[in-house]
Amino acid sequence: MGAVPVEVKVIYRDKEWNLKNATTVKDVLKKLNINTQTVLITVEGELVTEDHQLKDGDVVTLIDVVSGG
């Protein structure tokens, strides 16, 4: 049985919003057009990989890794 799309909260660069129809973390990154090389992904505070299956109401936090200047 395929994964069920759920609604999650996404936090990125001090902004929060709800995202619908996501099944995995990879979906979230794709919808937001974010390069996987540039962020760490946590779900409920735990570091996860792109294929992590999301649950309804999960809080997905994206942490920028690129610094410089």
Binding site: T36, Q37, E46, E50, V66, G68, G69
Partner: protein, 304 residues
């Protein structure tokens, strides 16, 4: 995804290595790869006292943490640049001092305002030289001065693979041959810099460093320097990350390939005569040195 080593749930996927790893095995991977870089480029030994340039950011704090974990002798060095916007320097210093205290590490903090009578903010207000250029002169000068004072064998900075590959791309695009000749994880001591400058994270991707810092609860400053907006280094890093996303391993191949081929950039060059700065005594191409000229200009502005 499952950890390739033990089958437990993976916390990170490293596409460049075709690996997914759990927390334990990622940390082991990160530490062992850092150790390999230190040995491969002969950066330093266990007999050396390493001055770690610590900004309060993820790379330098993580470097300091890992070097101590590996059993190296270290001393932290932090420069308070006096950047007040967003309390950037205040927070950077706070994170550094808290880290040193937490892990019982020795740290020297130098405030540029106290040492030289000006801050990066002051110089930015004066106009002329950019904040980044001024910052570069200040850091270089003070690292050189304090490596001598502390008797350190080398200065270690937290520059990572993304930084090195980005700089390399910039140098190639602009055909900066003199920089291409010099770029390396180890810059030996020279007539104008008293100790070797080394980059143990030169082969570690920025994302790996961030992941290690996160997993080990290293509390670093997330804010970027307010003067870094629009920096071309960020543009080059972004371009490389776009390529890396489609062709994993590109950054490491690019950097290592350059190091293996560096000799094609070596040119015959004349020896530049260095003199002693009439003001501070540090070796310089022309006296007074850039740092003392900064001090003089700032002092003139304050007296005006």
């Amino acid at each position: 995804m499952r950890c390739k080593k033990c089958g437990q749930k993976a916390v990170i996927r490293l596409k460049a290595y075709n690996l997914s790893l759990c927390r334990k095995h990622f940390e082991e991977f990160f530490i062992s790869k850092t150790s390999e870089t230190i040995k491969r480029y002969r950066l330093f030994s266990k007999n050396d006292l390493i001055m770690v340039a610590v900004s309060g950011g993820k790379d330098s704090l993580t470097l300091w943490y890992v070097l101590n974990l590996l059993g190296y002798r270290t001393h932290g060095f932090h420069i308070d640049l006096g950047i007040s916007r967003g309390n950037y320097s205040g927070l950077s210093r706070e994170k550094t001092e808290k880290f040193a205290e937490q892990y019982g590490l020795s740290l020297t903090v130098v405030s540029i305002a106290d040492y030289a009578g000006f801050t990066i903010d002051d110089y930015h207000r004066l106009g002329g030289r950019s904040a980044c250029s001024t910052c570069g002169i200040v850091k270089r000068y003070l690292m050189n001065e304090f490596v001598k004072r502390t008797g350190s064998s080398c200065v270690a900075t937290g520059h990572n693979l993304d930084d090195e590959a980005g700089v390399l791309l910039g140098n190639l695009l602009n055909w900066q041959l003199s920089y291409l000749q010099r770029q390396h994880p180890k810059l030996p001591a020279s007539a104008d810099f008293f100790a070797a400058r080394v980059k143990p994270f030169a082969e570690r991707a920025e994302r790996e460093v961030a992941a290690f810092a996160f997993l080990n609860g290293i509390d670093y400053i997330y804010d970027e320097c307010p003067y870094s907006k629009g920096a071309t280094s960020l543009l080059y890093k972004k371009a490389l990350n776009e390529i890396e996303e489609h062709s994993p391993g590109t950054k490491l191949r690019f950097f290592r390939g350059f190091l293996a081929s560096k000799k094609i950039f070596v040119q015959e060059k004349g020896v530049s005569d260095l003199v002693k700065c009439e003001s501070c005594g540090q070796p310089t191409v022309s006296s007074p040195c850039s740092f003392c000229r900064l001090k003089e200009k700032a002092a003139q502005n304050q007296n005006a």
